[in-house]
């Protein structure tokens, strides 16, 4: 059962498994474990971007196609559905039409991109896609009558998916973070702390929307796991490793590469649709910006290229950092102000300087996880198991050099 679900592609590291399960549970029960709109929004983003980044990994990690146009397809989805809702009214047919249309567009454009990749290679391709994505953004800005230009446009979701559609009496959630914090700060009266930890969960259309996107992502992710462990996925690996040789073995690499680009783009489009419906307001900056494209790239690399699980870990870690680093720094500089010695350095750590430290983390994450978080964890796990094997089989050092009969 599990085996088929994961397509035999296990985390292969105890720590990683724990991490993944934590994330899964955290997202599944999220709305009932973390209070607050910001937390809710962050979870929504995580769910959406897990899908987007995983799709990106299909191209990047499994085929070494480096494209910065991924976000363009994301934009297709977001704007497609937003514009449909805008023109056809807030109903589900509009969503269907918008999604369908943008999927169609994505597939066509992706095919063209695949052809382009025939002629324009590697880093050139990467930078060209960057430029193409840029011109799409310019286009969106200039069609402001349709898209609202830089001001962006609100996504008039059907009532069922909006805050207005709500059950009368809210459900109850239990804020673990609040509780833990409480327990730490005043351990004496746990009872009160526990009471405070309970909070109301607004059982409205947005909660519904969250769970819809959660399920979509989950299903698609499992599908991708299967894909990369299928014969198709193996060929992708071959192309990544040595395209020339793959051809000599009889694989038409062109078709495979194009197929992947189309697939990834379609998935990104779906991601875009969900993004629009979850955040309910889109701007070029929040959907098409180059910076965002780089962030997706980072999530992918940080999590671990070529391991879909990396997308999960990468997206989660990154988005949490992006949304909470600032608060953390705020607290930090608060403390530093107390300490006269550090007070002078405090401005460097001020909440408004969060981007500085974000940049630093950005760089460090690439160094400390050369193979991504997942890759790193797996390596450690592998090393440990080798060591254990070593204990049994005595000196394992000769292993690579020794030649069995």
């Amino acid at each position: 059962m599990i085996h088929s679900l994961l397509s035999g592609d296990y985390p292969r590291s105890r720590v990683l498994s724990v991490l993944l399960i934590a994330i899964l549970v955290g997202l599944a029960l999220g709305p009932f474990l973390f209070s607050g709109t910001v937390a809710f929004r962050t979870m929504g983003l995580i769910v959406v971007f897990i899908l987007v980044v995983a799709a990106y990994d299909l191209m990047l990690g499994y085929t070494h196609v480096v494209s910065f146009a991924h976000l363009m397809f994301f934009g297709f989805g977001a704007y497609g559905v937003a514009m449909a809702l805008d023109s056809m009214g807030s109903n589900f047919t509009a969503i269907a039409v918008g999604t369908g249309a943008s999927l169609l567009l994505s597939i066509v454009v992706a095919l063209l991109l695949g052809l382009l990749s025939l002629r324009v290679k590697a880093i050139f391709f990467a930078l060209v896609t960057l430029a193409i994505a840029f011109s799409f953004m310019v286009l969106v800005n200039q069609l402001y009558t349709l898209t609202g230009g830089e001001d962006g446009m609100r996504v008039a979701v059907p009532r069922e998916l909006g805050p207005a559609f709500r059950l009368d009496e809210p459900w109850t959630g239990f804020s673990i973070i609040g509780w833990v914090w409480g327990v730490i700060t005043n351990p004496l009266n746990i009872a009160e702390v526990t009471r405070d930890a309970f909070f109301d969960v607004r059982a409205n259309g947005r909660l519904l929307m969250y769970y819809v996107s959660f399920v979509v992502t989950l299903v698609l992710f499992i599908g991708m796991l299967r894909l990369v462990n299928s014969p198709f996925g193996r060929v992708l690996l071959a192309i990544r490793e040595n395209e020339f040789r793959a051809e000599a073995l009889g694989y038409r690499t062109v078709y495979y590469r194009t197929a992947v680009v189309v697939l990834a783009s379609a998935l990104a489009t779906i991601g875009g649709v969900m993004f629009a419906l979850v955040t309910r307001y889109i701007t070029p900056e929040s959907t098409l910006d180059f910076e965002l494209a780089v962030f997706v790239l980072l999530m992918c690399v940080m999590g671990g290229m070529g391991t879909l699980y990396g997308a999960v870990v990468g997206a989660t870690v990154f988005l949490i950092a992006q949304n909470y680093l600032q608060d953390l720094l705020g607290v930090l500089s608060g403390w530093m102000d107390q300490v006269p010695v550090l007070a002078m350095a405090a401005p460097l750590f001020g909440a408004d300087r969060w981007l500085l430290w974000f940049g630093v983390l950005f760089v460090l994450s690439v160094y400390f996880f050369p193979t991504g978080i997942v890759g790193q964890l797996r390596e450690w796990a592998a090393r440990r198991s080798r060591a254990e094997a070593g204990q049994k089989a005595g000196d394992n050092a000769d292993e690579p050099a020794s030649h069995g009969a």
Partner: protein
């Protein structure tokens, strides 16, 4: 054997790189069950000729015929599907995949399941098994789980040959398969090549510098020199021919004899 029609034929194949004509008007046909050695000094055009036949390069002029069909315009993969198999002179593997995975890829390409994305590759035990016997044939089974680029040079050469075997082509093209292989392992590879030849229905093309190997294995020797086909015939007579003597073996025969 000339009675049967050729499996693969090179008609006036010519390729020019800038000013330099690397392969010049080379015509030659190959028949099933034969092993032909292609010899010639370095830079004679042997590898380039192979590239023309297996489709890594497009000829400036001339054709490649497979069972009489002109395949000169087909891309390399299609030719591979049609049964042209190629092992490379400079080792050319999937560096970061395991030895086994390398071989599985070669085996799988015969099954045309590349576009299947709903099954689990790992569940195809049959493919794994076949991959394993090819590894056994090239004596690499004990390294099945090693990463390819961690292998010592000689073992990489063996894997290179293993991939070609796994491809089960109709035409085998070996480009100096034993180069840099330790003396005691050379016979293994030669044995494999001999077996293929023994099957009678395959065509084997072998680029090799080791004269004794050439002599012992081939039914026929083709000599390239400056991209031109300068001699073609029975091993004994070709090796005896003066052109080969000075152009290829050089004067100092005595030592090379044993090499």
């Amino acid at each position: 054997m000339a009675s049967e029609n050729p499996v693969i034929e090179s008609r006036d194949l010519t390729i020019q790189f800038g000013g330099h004509v690397a392969v010049n008007q080379v015509s030659c046909a190959f028949y099933p069950g034969t092993l032909t050695s292609i010899v010639g000094p370095n830079g004679a055009g042997k590898t380039t000729w192979f590239n023309l036949i297996s489709g890594q390069l497009r000829p400036t002029s001339g054709q490649v015929l497979l069972h009489g069909e002109d395949i000169s315009r087909l891309p390399a993969p299609t030719r591979a599907d049609k049964g042209l198999g190629r092992a490379f002179q400079l080792t050319n593997l999937f560096p970061n995949l395991t030895v086994l995975e390398n071989t599985r890829l070669a085996v799988a390409s015969r099954y045309n399941i590349g576009y299947n994305f709903w099954h689990m590759a790992a569940r195809r035990q049959d493919i794994t098994d076949r991959a394993m016997d090819y590894l056994r044939q090239v004596r690499l089974e004990h390294r099945a789980d090693a990463i390819a680029n961690g292998l010592p040079h000689g073992d990489q050469r063996k894997l290179e040959v293993g991939l070609l075997l796994a491809l089960e082509p109709e035409v085998f093209m070996f480009d100096e398969p034993t180069a840099g292989m330790s003396v005691d392992e050379v016979p293994i590879i030669l044995g494999l090549i001999a077996d293929i030849k023994a099957r009678q229905d395959k065509v084997v093309l072998l680029v090799e510098h080791k004269m004794d190997v050439v002599r012992s294995l081939s039914d026929r020797i083709v000599v390239l020199h400056n991209g031109e086909l300068v001699a073609d015939g029975e091993p004994a007579e070709v090796i005896a021919s003066p052109v080969v003597q000075e152009a290829y073996l050089g004067v100092a025969q005595d030592e090379t004899e044993q090499v």
